[in-house]
């Protein structure tokens, strides 16, 4: 997609979404806050996962740190919300830096699994720290300002998406893509692969942690199980991959579509919602293995046979 077209779509979508609270419909706003935060997480995951191909199952750790940083700063230290957000984001970035250096040496499934291990270990560590409520959790001061949370989440998603749009055009982003395509070749061409990957992880941690902090203040109650929920991480991956990893708009569109489908299914046929959700994922992987974003180009290349073409390429 041409860069000006991408930017135009982002601008129009941002304005339209920013106007949504004017309808005053509480259900829509609450759904919106959730969808926007999830989309931010998917987009942040995309920075590392989509561009470098390093599948992280540890992003929920950054989310949890953002959640706990914000909550602990506000309840235990009595600091203001923005300061708490900064604290949580700072903690997540420092952790990303410290962990990224040893763990990003691992490739392929090993990296994925190491991050999965980290996220499980972190949740268990936090649930043993009494200062942050151990297993019970923390309760934040109640603020009834859904409109504000909505606009904050939107601003965060916008910042994250613009960062990815910049990545897609910049030398740094090309370096990341080179790592995805062939890491050894990238290194031999002079890309400082470790530094690139660590920076990508730190950026990813920054946005994920702020999303966690906003969610904590909005929902006003957190505990280790919800803050470090590994299924949240799986959702990030699914949204990004469903929409199209390594693209600018794919992860956001994927997040919106899938959260909408899930929401509709849950209210319409509540018991079978998860079942159909799983089925959608299975079918999506079979028919559009490169993500929804690929459909536009794919249909232009192959016409209606595009979906079967995908199977032909990937079947045994």
């Amino acid at each position: 997609m041409r860069p000006w077209l991408t930017l135009a779509i982002i601008a129009v979508a941002a304005v339209l979404l920013a106007l949504l609270p004017l309808t005053g419909d509480a259900v829509w706003i609450q759904f919106g806050i959730n969808a926007l935060l999830l989309a931010t997480c998917a987009q942040a995951w995309n920075i590392l996962g989509g561009f470098t191909g390093y599948v992280s199952f540890g992003n929920s750790v950054f989310y949890g740190l953002g959640t706990y940083g914000t909550a602990a700063a506000m309840t235990q230290l009595g600091w203001l919300f923005p300061v708490g957000l900064a604290l949580g984001a700072g903690a997540a970035m420092v952790l990303a830096l410290l962990l990224g250096i040893p763990i990003l040496r691992l490739r392929g499934p090993y990296f994925a699994i190491a991050t999965l291990g980290l996220s499980a270990a972190m949740a268990a560590v936090v649930s043993n720290i009494d200062a942050v409520g151990a297993n019970i959790g923390l309760i934040l001061p109640l603020t009834r300002a859904d409109g504000m949370f909505y606009e904050l989440a939107l601003a965060l998603l916008l910042a994250c998406t613009l960062t990815v749009a910049w990545l897609a055009r910049s030398r740094f982003g090309s370096g990341l893509v080179a790592i995805r395509e062939d890491e050894d070749a990238a290194a031999s061409m002079g890309v400082d692969t470790t530094r690139y990957k660590v920076i990508a992880l730190v950026l990813s941690a920054l946005f994920t942690a702020i999303a966690g902090g906003i969610h904590a203040y909005w929902i006003t109650f957190i505990n280790p199980a919800s803050a470090f929920d590994p299924t949240l991480n799986v959702q990030m991956v699914i949204f990004a991959v469903f929409g199209g990893p390594g693209t600018v708009l794919g992860p956001v569109v994927g997040a919106f579509i899938l959260s909408a489908i899930y929401e509709v299914l849950a209210s319409w046929i509540s018991t079978a919602a998860a079942f159909l959700f799983g089925l959608v994922i299975v079918l999506a992987v079979i028919f559009t293995p490169r993500g929804l974003a690929d459909i536009f180009g794919g249909v232009r290349r192959h016409g209606a046979a595009y979906l079967l073409q995908n199977i032909r390429e990937n079947r045994l």
């Binding site: 499934p109 699994i113 291990g117 268990a124 079947r315």
Partner: protein
């Protein structure tokens, strides 16, 4: 004496863990699929044994091979008609599709079996022997021996039988194997079926020693992951050993630090193993 008891418990539990890891490692090593639905296969195996015992009155240990055969067919069909469509695509996609399958299976299980806690409870469930002050639960001992037996059978199959040679050849070089007359579609289906059958054996034994719910899959998948990584993918006995390492580590942690720390240790161990020994033979099945 407490320490000896804890070690024995850990080792016996580790045998069961090893059995969980076997199917995961087989599928991963041969098909290059990290099967996120592995834990839900274990869960299905557990329910198969549970219903064979409660409805048909078949002794749980005798029901084990039946459950294995059922899950073999299930896994074979799944690979032959669904996963083979996508198996050549990136790792990310196979992760995603098996995750989707896990969600589907979990909710079908919840619908069919309800969310009630189930335990397979034969008359000899609590039997144990005491030797030198250490109590050995007989069922865990049986589970341990069955794990060793199945690891041995898998080793024999892979290293001594023609089918095993075809499986190893497919894992090493798909194109070359095809040139030598191996049909990778059926080899993949057979391998995935075997992985599911091993999961069923683990599930049946798990159901005798712990509670079954439709939701145990995710945790068991994560454990199987850890075990496959600690043990490596090349030798079934190493995987059982990996299971024992995990079982002992968890038991010791529960004793000295408290049960809430077991996950910290088992997943911390995983990260340490990965960082210290990053380049193990991955596809040498």
């Amino acid at each position: 004496m407490l320490l000896a008891q804890i070690l024995v418990n850990g080792i016996l539990l580790g045998g069961l863990y090893g059995l969980m890891g076997l199917g995961m490692a087989l599928v991963w090593g041969v098909l290059n699929i990290v099967n996120l639905a592995h834990g839900s296969f274990i869960m299905l195996g557990g329910y198969a044994v549970f219903y064979l015992f409660t409805l048909a009155g078949i002794d749980p240990l005798a029901a084990l091979p039946i459950a294995m055969a059922m899950l073999f067919v299930f896994g074979w069909l799944l690979q032959r008609f669904v996963l083979n469509l996508i198996v050549r695509s990136e790792l990310l996609n196979t992760l995603l599709i098996t995750f989707g399958l896990d969600v589907v299976i979990t909710y079908l299980a919840q619908y069919l079996f309800t969310a009630d806690f189930r335990t397979i409870n034969p008359s000899y469930a609590g039997a144990n022997i005491t030797a030198a002050g250490v109590t050995v639960p007989l069922l865990l001992l049986a589970a341990f021996l069955i794990a060793l037996l199945l690891a041995g059978a898998l080793w024999l199959l892979l290293n001594r039988l023609p089918l095993g040679r075809a499986i190893r050849a497919t894992a090493q070089n798909l194109v070359a194997a095809r040139l030598y007359g191996v049909d990778p579609r059926s080899v993949y289906a057979l391998t995935f079926g075997l992985g599911a059958a091993l999961a069923a054996a683990a599930g049946g034994l798990y159901g005798i020693t712990a509670h079954l719910t439709p939701y145990i899959g995710v945790t068991l998948t994560a454990k199987s992951f850890v075990i496959a990584i600690i043990g490596g993918l090349d030798n079934p006995f190493h995987i059982v050993l990996g299971g024992i390492v995990l079982g002992v580590a968890e038991s010791l942690t529960a004793l000295y630090l408290g049960p809430t720390y077991t996950d910290v240790i088992s997943f911390g161990l995983l990260v340490v193993v990965l960082v210290v020994r990053p380049r193990r033979a991955l596809r040498a099945a």
